[in-house]
């Protein structure tokens, strides 16, 4: 994805002249050369300094901490335990439960979200009245914080007086216990994710659709392609890298899921992901180990496991892609 970006960049170095310093003019020239050579690095430095200090270093240090026993109350006391944390995590049923929940919620929230976004982008791509209104409207959920959205949906999905159960009741369906039952809870949590991100992804798709050259559509319609065929044979291939990009971002988001299940679980049960851990994600487990059980070493181990999950997800994605291209 990124390779095409930089191809055009290949810049050549300005020809460096060597000369002795001394006269004021030469000193000015030296300063000038220093400026030309040095300023770019100074300009990009803040990004890399902050990233190294607050993102890269913590990420690497996480793996070191995961080999230790560290308690929240005494952060400076680290006891070397080698791979004990990993062994324990491997044997911990809560970990496998959280892993399964993260994957299932990830699939339930990501697949419909991206498909709906594709449909919405297609609709937004029509020439129409009030197109700006529809675009801004679809972006309104994106302006809502996880916290606010989760609170509202908790009420909408409430068992006794929630709007969803009321609506289901009017068509004769029994009330669903959206919080306590595993699959309903996971669907409800996924709904929050879908609501927040569909419109945003749709705008990304829309931007890509508008960059598809019109002659491809003309050629397709000359070949007698129907609108649906144009959509599947011109539009979707035309925005493929955007689709890949959104899949990557949504996958990252899904492995990190935290706020939605936490707040949906309402306080006391929030961190455990429900009374039976029925919707505890890896993100919640990470927090529970560290900040409820005070075991920072184990928390770091969960973080490292999440990272591995992410890596595995991308390896799997690559493999599937390769297999597909081989079969077709």
């Amino acid at each position: 994805m990124a390779t095409s970006t930089t191809k055009a960049l290949a810049g050549e170095e300005p020809p460096g002249r060597t000369g002795a310093e001394g006269t004021p003019r030469r000193r000015g020239a030296l300063l000038h050369r220093l400026d030309i050579k040095g300023a770019p690095y100074v300009f990009v430095a803040p990004f890399f300094v902050v990233f190294a200090a607050f993102s890269f270093y913590p990420l690497v240090y996480t793996s070191w901490i995961s080999l230790h026993d560290v308690e929240l109350a005494t952060l400076d006391v680290m006891e070397w335990v080698a791979f004990d944390n990993y062994v324990e995590l491997w044997g911990d049923s809560r970990f496998w439960n959280a892993l399964r929940n993260t994957i299932t919620i990830g699939v339930i929230s990501t697949v419909p979200q991206l498909m709906m976004a594709l449909g919405l982008a297609h609709l937004l791509n029509y020439r129409m009245r009030a197109s700006l209104f529809f675009r801004v409207a679809s972006l309104v959920p994106y302006a809502t914080s996880v916290a606010a959205a989760a609170l509202v949906f908790t009420m909408i999905f409430e068992r006794d007086f929630g709007m969803i159960n009321w609506a289901l009741g009017t068509v004769g369906i029994d009330a669903v216990n959206w919080e306590a039952d595993k699959w309903p809870a996971q669907v409800a949590i996924s709904t929050i994710v879908i609501w927040r991100w569909t419109g945003y992804n749709a705008l990304l798709y829309l931007a890509a659709m508008q960059a598809i050259p019109a002659d491809r559509y003309e050629a397709a319609s000359l070949d007698g392609a129907s609108r649906w065929q144009q959509f599947t044979h011109v539009t979707v291939p035309g925005i493929r890298s955007t689709i890949v990009f959104t899949i990557v971002l949504s996958t990252i988001g899904a492995t990190q899921l935290f706020g939605e299940p936490l707040i949906f679980g309402q306080g006391p049960n929030g961190i455990t992901g429900g009374a039976d851990n029925q919707y505890q994600t890896l993100g919640l487990l990470l927090y529970e180990e560290g900040w409820k059980n005070y075991q920072m070493g184990r928390s770091a181990t969960v973080a490292w496991a999440m990272f591995m999950l992410l890596v595995l997800a991308f390896v799997a994605q690559r493999l599937i892609k390769r297999l597909r291209s081989r079969t077709s």
């Binding site: 970006t5 309104v140 914080s145 609501w195 559509y217």
Partner: protein
């Protein structure tokens, strides 16, 4: 600290608000408009209206619930029209739930983060777009690569770092890790490589201006529209950021999303109060979206991967 932020587009030719040249790009735009789009039929309008209702309804209902009282909220069928208590509930949320302090904190946090992100992103974006230096491509690839690293994974060492610095429960703990953004750097780079003519930079050089001077008097004026968009999008993300502030702050000094979790934490839930808090915490961003919706939409679309 969210990964799902403004994405980057990878190929250079595309539209930015400043592309007005009647050259190739302009002609391509015109042709696209003529050939590509069909008019929306009635079905498309119906679907779009449904979509808009689904998008807006939860927020509308937040307002409804925040304007009634608890007995009314808990009735079936649920209320669909606003009640009379909106302002008293908002005032209660402001006082009781520490929402007042949270709003001020969020304003500080999001404001500082957005300002510094825009500043550093414009500097780096300018360097990547218009200056020549060894390792430029590699460094740019590195910037893009950092987008793939979810910051949540480093949370344990980050927490230890903050307590060592004495920043636990303090706003700097939330501000510092997010002072820059890879997405922002890339966004500004894309914008400036199109919007800033090389000749302008060269002319500055000929006049003997040093790089910072060129940045200040030539780049900044050109970059301003993109900077405004980046500011707003970063502000939204910083305002809504949840995981890290939740970990490192507590209820004595929360940001808005952290304060909202406390609202729902009790066993007896005051529904109207919760909804009033949620509404209050979302209001500033909603106002921003209503006023600057067009710019935010175009900014997100300009930053998209195309192809």
């Amino acid at each position: 600290m969210t990964t799902q932020s403004l994405p980057a587009r990878t190929d250079a030719p595309a539209r930015t608000p400043t592309e007005k040249s009647p050259g190739r790009g302009g002609r391509r735009l015109l042709r696209q408009r003529a050939g590509r789009q069909h008019h929306a039929g009635p079905l498309a309008y119906v679907l779009l209206v449904i979509m808009a209702v689904l998008s807006i309804f939860p927020l509308y209902w937040t307002m409804v619930a925040a304007s009634t009282d608890n007995t009314r909220v808990s009735q079936t069928p649920p209320p669909f029209l606003p009640g009379p208590n909106l302002f008293s509930n908002l005032a209660r949320a402001w006082d009781e739930a520490a929402m007042g302090k949270a709003m001020v904190n969020s304003l500080i946090v999001a404001g500082v983060i957005a300002l510094s992100t825009v500043m550093f992103a414009t500097l780096a974006g300018f360097a990547f777009a218009k200056l020549r230096f060894k390792g430029r491509n590699a460094l740019l690839m590195l910037v893009i690569g950092t987008m793939m690293v979810p910051p949540q994974l480093g949370v344990v060492p980050l927490f230890m770092m903050m307590s060592e610095l004495g920043w636990s429960q303090q706003l700097p703990a939330v501000i510092f890790p997010t002072l820059v953004s890879a997405v922002g750097v890339f966004f500004m780079r894309q914008y400036l490589s199109e919007a800033l003519p090389d000749e302008l930079v060269e002319a500055g050089r000929v006049d003997g201006a040093h790089s910072l001077r060129i940045f200040w008097s030539i780049v900044l004026p050109v970059a301003r529209p993109a900077m405004a968009v980046l500011f707003m999008i970063t502000f939204v993300h910083a305002w809504n950021d949840f995981f890290w502030p939740f970990v490192v702050l507590d209820m004595t000094n929360p940001t808005v999303p952290v304060a909202l979790t406390q609202l729902s934490a009790g066993y007896v839930r005051d529904q109207s109060l919760i909804m009033a808090g949620a509404l209050l915490g979302t209001l500033p961003l909603l106002v921003m979206f209503v006023v600057f919706g067009r710019q935010i939409v175009s900014g997100i679309m300009a930053g998209a991967v195309k192809g």
